[in-house]
Subunit: 265 residues, 2 copies
């Protein structure tokens, strides 16, 4: 994998990954949108990895192979999760940290609680943990034929804007784009993650041998009426931008718990 | 799965899961420690699921079957991830939300950045998302023969203490226990998540057919010198207790980014 070592840094190195797999239209649209802004290298899963969250592969080894999918762009497919892709790209493909890591464009929403389950956003968060600024892009359209032009347009503008500035090394943005024509999009809106979740129920079926199995289904419910949330922004045709972090400490609860939990039981 | 419907709530319902699998010694120690504090029901993965993070199973269906592993305790194994176990337990086993969800006792550390990769903690966080107070327990000893007695003792004390109080429905505690004899443990200490991570490198090997494969390895590095962190507490033989949350919004960065990202590009 030595050919990806960049001894002279002329252009910023842009690592691109996703969770829909290296052959998904969304990653193609993202590569196309930013390929002239830097040296783009793709390391993405060799199969769909939606809902993989921050899973890593520890029980078995990973495979990595080059693929020719994108015009004039070095690309690899990896047998692991989106987070594995980021780790492997840094150690075995780039042999350095890229200047920025982009993930997506995801086919489907990653606003509100989805950020927790999303392979797309976990790849971006992994980059942020490794001190690589990152952005995850998602389009609120699950269709494989979704029109990516609006999302790609704003992805390019945002990346261009950020590359021109000194970026916080832990910057991680969760960008979601409404499923509307580009001309109807109202621009970027900084938001907080809405308190919204899925009310799950499992579809119970019997296999041909009479044994039960369960399909995860559920309905999205927004419990958050704030106008500063990603869900609100998306409902009003804004592109939501939520800065996310990997420190999960609940500082407010920590302060309150001092009274409840005695230091010595 | 109707036998687990509790029409009359006499004792609190305690859901127990883990990521090492239903047959791991850690979950047995946890069940044993708290089984007289309520009606315990176990729904845990049918195989090890370490490092699965917040992964959910969406591309294929799940299996669920009862197992007789624990004395006088209803238990099920599930073919999915730890997060799947929590979802399935609520919808198809308990048919209600349990009063508390416990996860563990994990064989290995889940302090600092481990919380992000951990199936144990993701199961607890999933419960918290579903408004079920939860605690994940981990022992800093990866061995299958690890001495769980100290961890089990403090798990029991903590659960007993919390069940006697009105608990915040989103309470989620990440509890890590040092690998020391019970008498050397200094008690519980409320902490924040340390900024510490793994410096990964992949071990590159060739298979018998000459094709490369990669094993994830890495060294733990603590970049955080604070004395209020979980890593500090564990190094000083305290049991670290970090309240964690599922709102990943980085509010500080959000405020700062208003100047950088224009609302309309």
């Amino acid at each position: 994998m030595a050919k990806a070592i960049y001894k002279k840094k002329i252009k910023p190195v842009i690592l691109i990954t996703n969770d829909d797999g290296v052959s998904a239209p969304g990653i193609k649209a993202l590569v196309q949108a930013v390929k002239d802004l830097g040296k783009v290298v793709v390391v993405a899963p060799d199969k769909p990895q939606s809902g993989m969250g921050h899973a890593i592969t520890i029980g078995h080894p990973l495979r990595l192979s080059s693929v020719e999918i994108f015009d004039e762009v070095e690309a690899y497919q990896c047998s692991g999760t989106p987070v594995d892709c980021v780790k492997l790209a840094v150690d075995k493909v780039l042999h350095r940290k890229p200047d920025i890591c982009l993930s997506g464009i995801n086919h489907g929403a990653n606003h509100s609680i989805n950020v927790i389950y999303s392979g797309t956003m976990s790849a971006a968060l992994e980059a942020s943990i490794e001190s690589i600024p990152s952005i995850g892009f998602s389009l609120l359209d699950y269709s494989i034929e979704a029109d990516m032009s609006g999302a790609a347009y704003y992805a390019r503008l945002l990346v261009k804007q950020l590359l021109g500035k000194k970026i916080n090394k832990h910057l991680c943005l969760n960008v979601n784009v409404p499923p509307a024509p580009k001309e109807l999009l109202k621009g970027l809106k900084l938001c907080r993650q809405a308190y919204a979740k899925y009310e799950e129920r499992f579809d119970e079926r019997n296999d041909p041998h009479g044994k039960k199995y369960y399909w995860l289904t559920g309905e999205f419910q927004n419990f958050d009426k704030g106008k500063d949330t990603d869900v609100w922004a998306l409902e009003h045709n804004f592109i939501s931008v939520v800065p996310v972090q990997f420190d999960l400490t609940n500082y407010e609860l920590k302060a309150r718990l001092q009274k409840v939990i005695t230091s010595k039981l």
